[in-house]
Point group: C2
Chain length 103, copies 2
């Protein structure tokens, strides 16, 4: 086994720290979107809101440019997250349906 | 135009705050992977390191479980990020090639 050069080991530690933070922020974000999904269902609001989504995209692209991140990537990232949120919502609907059938 | 219910507006503000944090952490992460890519090239190390990658996946899945995030999603997230890192590295190689041709 080869020894990892110290500068590489240090950079990897920083990457691991950032990844821990990213995972925890994502966990928190999904807790909130779960609440939003429930709230929209309670209020009879549609699940999708295209105006809100285009505002989010514009905002994240702006923040990306400010922090020297590729704005295309920031947009792809949001799409990736939103796809997962939609998957969760569909899952809950199926679970609700199951409860209905079972209850 | 309909008014956004206060609880929904509040949740969206939290989502926007988390997204700002996520974008800034991602920007920082790509700064570090850029340095890692340069360092590996300087030291003559291969770009990919499968042992390191499987450690990262195992670690992120563990963190996901601890923070009530789907571990499958955490793994997909890492894959999504790594794909972008690879894209960057390919881009730099092309740029380097261009400099070589032009220089």
């Amino acid at each position: 086994m080869t020894e990892t050069p110290p500068e590489l080991a240090q950079a990897r530690q920083s990457i691991d720290n950032l990844d821990s933070a990213l995972v925890h922020l994502l966990a928190e974000r999904f807790k909130i979107t779960r609440r939003v999904g429930q709230l929209k269902a309670d209020l009879g609001l549609p699940a999708a809101d295209l105006e809100r989504e285009s505002e989010q995209i514009a905002r994240l692209r702006r923040l990306a440019v400010e922090s020297d991140l590729d704005p295309e990537f920031a947009q792809k990232f949001l799409t990736f997250i939103v796809r997962e949120v939609v998957r969760h919502h569909e899952q809950w609907r199926e679970d609700d349906h199951w409860r209905e059938v079972a209850g």
